[in-house]
């Protein structure tokens, strides 16, 4: 079943896939175990003349055992998931590139800040449904929606985030392999939902510079030079800063 997972090109996808494999193994073992036991019981204890069923109302020791064991497994799974979730969703790595993606019925509007790295200036460029990013670098995305809820889905990057009208959601992704990846909308957004999709072009450093030169030919010097790229997860983890934290007492004594 797992061979149908699309190729993973993200820095954290391997962790998600490993967790998927782990749950797959666990659930497969439990499923086969329960089914086998059930089938054995159905054959072994089928009604036969002259045999009476065992008269028992249960066994406390066994029941405590099969409460504690699943509970322990679930807590362990929860802790494994928690740490990954925090690195993916609750931290923002240092990024050199920021793009704005605004969803609307039924397109992705991609806004590039241009050489000055600032949105709202004259060198901003907007393209529909085509996301160009340098490979091997974390990309900061400012995700918005103009009308209804959409969901930016990058299957190959194990990335998904809803775009909610009235909100500005900051997320990041990173493609570690040059290529062209499909970007469907994953949340029902109206009659044109099916077919609302774009493409992510992950470009090598040279190709990315070439693309930049084509987009902004007047600019002699590009300020958004790609940082040294890495395919290792360690760098973005080390540079990451916490973007969401548990509420802390600020010492001022106020509850809020």
């Amino acid at each position: 079943m797992l061979r149908w997972l699309p190729e993973d090109v993200s820095p954290y996808g391997a962790g998600i896939d490993a967790l998927f494999h782990l749950i797959y193994t666990l659930t497969a073992v439990v499923f086969l175990g329960v089914t086998t036991v059930m089938l054995i019981f159905l054959v072994r204890y089928r009604a036969r003349d002259g045999r009476r069923a065992v008269y028992t109302h249960g066994n406390t020791r066994v029941e405590i055992l099969w409460t504690i064991i699943p509970a322990a497994i679930f807590i362990w799974l929860g802790l494994l998931s928690k740490s990954q979730w925090e690195t993916i969703r609750m931290t923002m790595p240092q990024t050199a590139t920021t793009i704005s993606i605004t969803a609307k019925q039924f397109n992705w509007e991609i806004l590039y800040p241009g050489p000055d790295g600032q949105f709202g200036t004259s060198d901003d460029k907007q393209v529909d449904n085509e996301i160009y990013v340098p490979v091997g670098q974390p990309i900061r995305v400012i995700l918005r929606s103009k009308d209804v809820i959409h969901s930016l889905f990058l299957p190959n990057l194990r990335f998904k985030q809803d775009a909610v009208p009235g909100r500005e959601i900051q997320v990041w992704f990173q493609a570690n392999k040059p290529g062209k990846y499909e970007v469907p909308c994953a949340e029902l957004c109206g009659f044109g939902h099916s077919g609302m999709k774009g493409w992510l072009y992950a470009l090598s450093t040279e190709d990315y510079r070439q693309w930049q030169r084509e987009q902004w030919p007047q600019t002699a010097e590009l300020s958004i030079d790609a940082k040294p790229s890495t395919t290792e997860g360690a760098v973005w983890k080390a540079q990451a800063q916490l973007i969401f934290a548990w509420p802390k007492d600020d010492g001022a004594g106020t509850a809020q």
């Binding site: 079943m1 797992l2 149908w4 954290y12 998600i16 967790l19 998927f20 749950i23 666990l26 659930t27 439990v30 499923f31 089914t35 059930m38 019981f41 204890y45 009604a47 009476r52 065992v54 028992t56 109302h57 249960g58 029941e63 099969w66 409460t67 699943p70 509970a71 679930f74 807590i75 799974l77 929860g78 494994l80 928690k82 979730w85 993916i88 969703r89 609750m90 009308d147 209804v148 809820i149 969901s151 889905f153 194990r158 990335f159 998904k160 985030q161 809803d162 909610v164 909100r167 499909e182 469907p184 909308c185 029902l188 109206g190 009659f191 939902h193 099916s194 999709k197 934290a245 548990w246």
Partner: protein, 614 residues
């Protein structure tokens, strides 16, 4: 312990052909809980067929996107060239030549016989709405709840018979409204059964105007109807138990229905409030869910899922309860861990209030909150595991009779195991990033919610003799089980594969996506299976018809079961019990060493001769 209502207070129901008003009182506006239960069963059965047909239209579209239906659809030559080739082509040509306003319903929603994207969105929205609100709940809670509660606790009727009748007769217009909404301009609601704001708020976003309004009205009516039922069930179970029917002597079916009624009572007001806010946003121009009106789209999701997750347990708990009863009866063995079963249902009900955020991991909700909801979600898996193991424990050492109700109960357990295990994938927040909103979740909730149909059928085969006084054919029942079980799994299991490949849910045409191309064969396989699953219900229809027409008469206790409903005639007379029964023991005293038979009814007083042999 309170006294049951005296049977003498019920009027006799002997029907003479000339007595027309009495016909209405007996079959239409009946106050008898048994008749109301049967009415709910008939209503939900009709809605089940509607919901199933909607699903088949969707499956056709997914397997062969934008292709006309067989038989009624136009030919490909006609679509390509505009020249009619078949008789159907000529009809389509005439229909499609009309003005938009004059076009008939079919030509607007399925021009040339192919489903349009807007109609497809209505199809899955209404499929879910019908199956969840008008099939599972009316069948299990309305049908079995009404029929079984007074009989199993030893009461003459419900505490409030009139409220009971009102509850059914509010459900009927609710169902009529939801079906009628297909035919209003703009079509039926198309925002998914979750009706997420802002898509559901503005007509310009979804293209649906009155469809959504009717959807809201229908669910408001239904939620009032269900509230009446819930109050009635709770009152009846607390007050009308027969002498000796202590709380821990109640059959698990009654425990499940009791806990379900409490969940309904607490969850429905939240839905009602959310629906009213949506109604205000749509018709009065308020902005509770619109950012431009100072509102918040995620507020709808929080309200909806605060109701929606308990709703899942409202659907599944009754099936769990009756499965427990049926497994015990046909294993000829007491249920394994009765108290653990009751406690696990209580903890499922309690925990169902604190897991709603797991529907919203990717919604933009604070990710720290996601971690908290992941933990509660993993915790709720524990009572589910306990129930499964206790069911297995019940089979252990039994004397198992594989009757058709038993087979369906085992089918329910088997599907619940798969649905429960696949839920763990979604509970893990990082894994959910990838599989959220894909077919993996479609597979998961069909194993849980559509799997309930096995519980419904188990109950139907088990209590049919009691309800209608005639036996169903066992051979046909087994054929029905094996075909349904086979095609259920070939329909829903491959949806996991689609989900793993990233196949989004609620898309009209999967062939528009390059990364889904290799999976299209599975879509066609699922569609073939779904059609077979639909046809596999034929043996049931034949069985029901044949049995009601020519079936063998049922004795009072054909399964040799212990609970009180089997101590009265099949079907039970009006008022149920000739004399209020006294309960001496729990419901699961099968193979008790006290008696030579392998069953010991709850109301049987033991005399010294009974225990002589053992």
């Amino acid at each position: 312990m309170s006294e049951a209502v005296a049977p003498a207070s019920f009027p006799s129901t002997h029907l003479s052909p000339t007595d027309v008003p009495r016909f209405w009182r007996t079959y239409i506006f009946s106050l008898d809980h048994k008749m109301i239960g049967k009415q709910f069963l008939v209503l939900s059965f009709a809605m089940l067929i509607c919901g199933g047909l909607l699903a088949l239209l969707m499956r056709w579209e997914l397997a062969w996107p934008e292709t006309p239906l067989p038989v009624i659809g136009a030919s490909q030559q006609f679509i390509d060239s505009g020249e009619p080739h078949t008789a159907m082509d000529k009809i389509w040509q005439a229909w499609l030549a009309q003005d938009d306003n004059e076009q008939n319903w079919l030509a607007r929603n399925m021009p040339t016989g192919a489903v349009t994207p807007a109609f497809y969105n209505s199809l899955f929205t209404m499929h879910a709405t019908i199956m969840i609100f008008f099939v599972v709940t009316p069948f299990l809670v309305g049908g079995f709840g009404n029929f079984l509660i007074p009989l199993m606790i030893g009461a003459g009727d419900m505490a409030f018979p009139f409220l009971n009748m009102l509850s059914f007769w509010l459900t009927v217009p609710a169902a009529a409204l939801v079906l009628y909404s297909f035919f209003v301009p703009g079509g039926a609601a198309a925002g998914g059964w979750t009706m997420y704001a802002t898509l559901s708020v503005k007509a310009q976003y979804s293209g649906v105007e009155w469809g959504v309004n009717l959807w809201i009205l229908s669910l408001l009516l239904l939620s009032v109807a269900s509230l009446m039922g819930a109050i009635n069930y709770i009152t009846t179970i607390i007050n009308l138990r027969a002498p000796g029917m202590w709380w821990f002597r109640l059959p698990l079916t009654i425990w499940a229905l009791f806990i379900t009624a409490i969940l309904l009572l607490l969850a429905l007001p939240v839905l009602t409030a959310a629906l009213l806010l949506l109604w205000f946003d749509r018709t009065l121009g308020t902005g509770f869910f619109l950012p431009e009106g100072g509102g918040e789209p995620l507020l709808w999701q929080h309200l909806f899922w605060f109701f929606g997750h308990p709703e899942v347990y409202i659907l599944v708990l009754p099936a769990m309860g009756l499965t427990s009863d049926i497994l015990s009866t046909f294993s000829r063995k007491p249920i394994f861990g009765y108290h653990a079963m009751v406690l696990s249902m209580m903890s499922l009900a309690f925990l169902s209030w604190v897991v709603w955020g797991h529907h919203m991991f990717q919604s933009g909700m604070n990710p720290a909150l996601g971690t908290a909801f992941m933990m509660t979600t993993l915790v709720i898996a524990v009572p589910s595991a306990i129930k499964t193991f206790n069911w297995l424990g019940t089979l252990w050492g039994g004397s198992i009779q594989l009757t058709s109700p038993m087979l369906f109960a085992l089918g329910f357990v088997s599907n619940f195991v798969i649905g429960g295990l696949s839920g763990i994938y979604m509970a893990s927040t990082p894994v959910d990033i990838y599989i959220h909103d894909t077919y993996f979740i479609v597979a998961h909730f069909h194993y849980v919610v559509a799997g309930i149909i096995f519980g419904m059928f188990a109950g139907l085969y088990y209590w049919f003799p009691k309800m209608f006084g005639c036996l169903l054919d066992e051979a046909l029942g087994k054929v029905h089980f094996f075909l349904t079980y086979l095609f259920f799994n070939t329909t829903f299991f491959p949806m996991h594969f689609l989900g793993v490949a990233g196949h989004m849910r609620r898309i009209y045409n999967p062939t528009e996506y390059e990364f889904l191309q290799p999976m299209q064969g599975w879509n066609q396989f699922i569609t073939y299976s779904a059609f077979c699953l639909f046809l596999a219900q034929l043996p049931l229809c034949v069985n029901l018809t044949w049995s009601l027409w020519r079936g063998r008469k049922a004795t009072a206790n054909p399964w040799h079961a212990n609970t009180l409903e089997w101590s009265v005639a099949s079907p039970p007379p009006h008022g149920n019990f000739v004399a209020t029964p006294t309960v001496y023991r729990g419901p699961y005293e099968y193979s008790s060493p006290l008696v030579t038979e392998d069953w010991l009814p709850q109301d049987r007083a033991l005399s010294p001769t009974d225990v002589s042999g053992r």
